[in-house]
Subunit: 297 residues, 2 copies
């Protein structure tokens, strides 16, 4: 059941990305090849899948099918996620050569094109969002939600900045939580919230999705930190042990592996409880939440 | 008259930027300081001014005042322009130490924060655009227009990529026109077009503004190229002679200074003719067009 959701969701997101990204042969080709290199490097498409399933859970359609065209919103979320990965991997930031088992964008296309490819994925995401198939009022709400979640105050860029500045310092819990909440949980939250807005969900449903997103987002990042210390680079498809090497702020560094996983589990319980009012329509999002902490890469 | 438009326009844009950018003291402070360093480095605010005057020209209000709140749209355009400057100046791209007479963002804040500050200005621009004071339908049209103008196909990033790849090659005219049209003219065009959309201008008026924008945009870039070979770094507030040093594709390299300026003048005549149907309401945009080719920095 969950396997099917993951496979079909990934296929839908991939098809939308294929359609919405400029072809590799489009002039100027280097930038389009670079964008596609990183987007089609084999991601799980978690953000699109969470978005689509939140849309399915809250749609007014009785059959609980996916709202028409929501995979384009999912594709825009994946473009934003990929832009952040390309820039994170740059020599001036995390200086990573490997991502999802393949050479990173700047290793293949050079730093200049990689910087611009990240920029372009962000731009393309907003061009797509301006044209998704929901009413204009919902579109501007979604754009506002996503832009805030990827911004500097308590969004993705803010988390990235604090993460960089926390290297080689002993992190306190408040800093660590700010980083995880902002760097990862904010966009995961925006993914489910925007799926709900796309479906025309009520304000109350949106707030339930928000708490669900924040809880799974933090759990997701805790598990990410744990995998960095317990798995090999081969298993992860990216360089393992980097956090320890950079003396980064992580949950295992602060609490150890066992206590970190216990906290992640507690967050998943909280996330699932938040969706109880949706009845069995929430089953898939609950399964997805449990999948996030059980994953091995 | 024009002096007043320029001064008041810049003041309105600056006030909106002050309001819409996170305070320098907001956590995490380094990124907000970096964003403000580059935004408040003394630009002329041409894009906001062009946007606001296009809005004034096409507004239905008989007194031809500025449409309420349009300075926020102008501020978003300036954020996008500044993001492109920060990334252009990076060591991996143009490697420039000086911009508007001040050290560039990465010279002051380091490459990592400069990359993220550029990213964040793009993000912040869309968060602002999602909330400007025009109907949602107009907002999504504006976002689509601006995202396309700053994208890879025939927008700002595409022009930047081709510009980088044209270094140290003898450029042909087609390549040169692609670079100028995409790298500079596209966002200048989107500035006047979005001002028109904000005002609720007719489709015909929007297309007049589009041709005006394309013409002044190309003229603007020709003059920029000419100034790079005829002015000193001190006069420009940025490193002069860089294009020649990098053997960049420029109009003076292809046609010489005199013929380049003749072509710029012809474009301004074309731009102004496009606005004749607006009568004396077009006077300010016509003056602005002539100002762009007469400037010395």
């Amino acid at each position: 059941m969950l396997r099917q959701v993951l496979d079909e969701g990934r296929a839908a997101a991939d098809a939308a990305l294929e359609l919405l990204l400029p072809p590799a042969a489009q002039h100027p080709t280097s930038i389009h090849q670079a964008m596609r290199h990183s987007v089609f490097a084999g991601g799980k498409r978690l953000r699109p899948i969470l978005c689509m399933e939140a849309g399915r859970m809250t749609t007014a359609q009785p059959c609980a099918s996916l709202p028409a065209g929501i995979e384009r919103l999912g594709a825009a979320l994946e473009m934003l996620h990929t832009y952040s990965l390309i820039h994170d991997d740059l020599p001036a930031l995390d200086n990573d050569d490997l991502r999802r088992g393949r050479p990173t964008c700047h290793k293949v296309f050079g730093e200049a094109v990689a910087i611009l490819a990240g920029d372009a994925l962000q731009t393309q995401a907003y061009e797509v969002l301006a044209q998704i198939q929901c009413p204009s009022d919902a579109r501007v709400s979604i754009i506002r939600e996503i832009a805030h979640a990827t911004g500097t105050i308590d969004g993705m860029i803010g988390g990235q900045v604090v993460d960089l500045e926390a290297e080689h310092k002993r992190p306190d819990l408040a800093t660590l939580e700010y980083i995880h909440r902002s760097k990862t949980a904010a966009l995961l939250t925006a993914s489910v919230v925007s799926g709900g807005i796309y479906s025309g969900a009520s304000g109350e449903a949106i707030e339930n999705l928000r708490v669900y997103g924040q809880s799974i987002g933090l759990a997701f990042q805790i598990v990410d930190d744990v995998l960095d210390v317990t798995q090999s680079s081969e298993q992860l498809g990216k360089t393992a042990g980097k956090d320890t090497a950079a003396e980064k702020a992580t949950y295992p560094a602060l609490f150890g592996v066992e206590e970190s996983l216990r906290r992640a589990d507690a967050l998943i319980v909280k996330a699932c409880a938040q969706l109880d009012s949706f009845g069995e329509r929430a089953d898939t999002l609950k399964e997805l939440a449990r999948f996030l902490v059980a994953r091995k890469s």
